[in-house]
Subunit: 223 residues, 2 copies
DNA sequence: CTAGAATTTCAACAATTGTTGAAGACGTAA
DNA sequence: TTACGTCTTCAACAATTGTTGAAATTCTAG
């Protein structure tokens, strides 16, 4: 076990360094030499383990994607089962999307925080937001949307999708950790306290979805 | 006039090319040669007009910032005056933040669309989101937040700031134009139809803010 | 211990980067 | 025209980029 750990020592060090730097400066803002230096490793080693730079980027994304997806799906199915046979509350669904991000890993391993920031970068990147996010997270998200629709009967699909878009945007900006809200609020809000941020975002987003029910009821009533 | 136009022809061409490319690929993803080529100009000319690369980036941001800020503030003050002496509706305040983005320029000049995408890039960038957004847009946003607070009596400031953060995140992701929502919704939602997107975002965000009033009333009722 | 495979480093490559100074082209006013 | 200041291009720079093949090291199985 310890031998196995040591064997892949430098390979993981490269992934960690790449994860951290890509999250901070984006794909083009990071050189392989900067990654190698932070990992305490020669430049050529990155190419040996992962091939070209772009493949290293994919490897960083892939490493934690499946773990995160499974965490979220577990939380979601637990929520569904607890409410069965009724659909779950909207807020509980949102929570199942948010809480797995913190419960287990946040403190234990700071790499996850970098990973979330990296996803934020990818998600809002015009180059890769459309393709990479789809590639790594689509099945999990489709399941969430399906459950969400059961909790929003009579709401048009288009509203649900744009609602998810708002949710994703809010989450993305929070994890990007720009520190902007700190300035704006005179340090009343701290952008590095992600669990606290998510509490507020959950309430805000859940209200946005719940209002769709009222709106669609009003619509059908007038017909 | 026409002479003045021609005089600054290439200078503006450089700004336009830089705006477009920076929005698509980020600061580090664009070379001065790529900008020069798209502008139909020699590489050295960018440096002559704007100095180092970083200063060109700032020049692109600055060019439209004041215009956009004044448009938004005009719309906001009109909303305030129309509702006076009462505070405006939350939804009207949000609209005053969104509508100036489209009314005048969207169709006339496609450069604005690139500019919005560029702001999306800057806003979600860990490197510059905290500083550059503050530098260019803070006074306008503080005015919006002040008006928003008048429409949300009894709501804690912290909730308002996080609400704005959600608003900003949703808007940012929409303008990033990643095409992700198109995939996700099977082309039910079109990420390049920004006015349509914003209609949905306005409703969603306004509901998030409005719910804060109900929540704070419930809180004070139980005390 | 030894041979061979896997890992890591070293040295160097061609290509590209931002930047610069000198030379040329342009417009303008005398 | 001439002369001058602005704008634009040309050519080249040192530095940095991703990548590669060979050498050196470490690990592992027999």
């Amino acid at each position: 076990m310890a031998a196995e750990n040591k064997k892949q020592d430098k390979r993981e060090a490269i992934l960690n360094a790449a994860e951290n730097l890509f999250a901070k400066h984006g794909y083009d803002g990071v050189t392989l030499r900067a990654i190698a230096k932070e990992a305490g490793v020669d430049v050529a080693l990155a190419n040996y383990h992962f091939g070209p730079k772009r493949d290293l980027f994919d490897a960083v994304l892939l490493r934690r994607a499946q773990i995160l997806n499974s965490w979220r799906l577990e939380a979601l199915e637990a929520t569904v089962q607890k409410a069965a046979p009724n659909p779950p509350d909207v807020k509980d669904i949102i929570r199942a999307y948010f809480e797995p991000l913190f419960k287990r890993s946040q403190v234990q391993e700071p790499g996850w925080k970098s990973y979330y920031a990296l996803i934020a970068y990818v998600n809002s990147s015009p180059e890769w937001g459309g393709t990479l996010m789809t590639q790594f997270f689509d099945p999990m998200i489709h399941r969430f949307l399906a459950v969400l629709k059961t909790a929003l009967p009579g709401v048009p699909d288009k509203s649900v999708y744009w609602g998810y878009h708002c949710l994703s945007g809010a989450l993305t900006l929070a994890f990007a950790q720009t520190g902007r809200i700190d300035h704006l609020s005179n340090d009343l809000c701290k952008s590095d306290d992600l669990p606290d941020a998510c509490d507020y975002i959950v309430d805000f987003v859940a209200a946005g979805f719940s209002d769709m029910i009222a709106a669609s009821e009003k619509e059908t009533a007038t017909l």
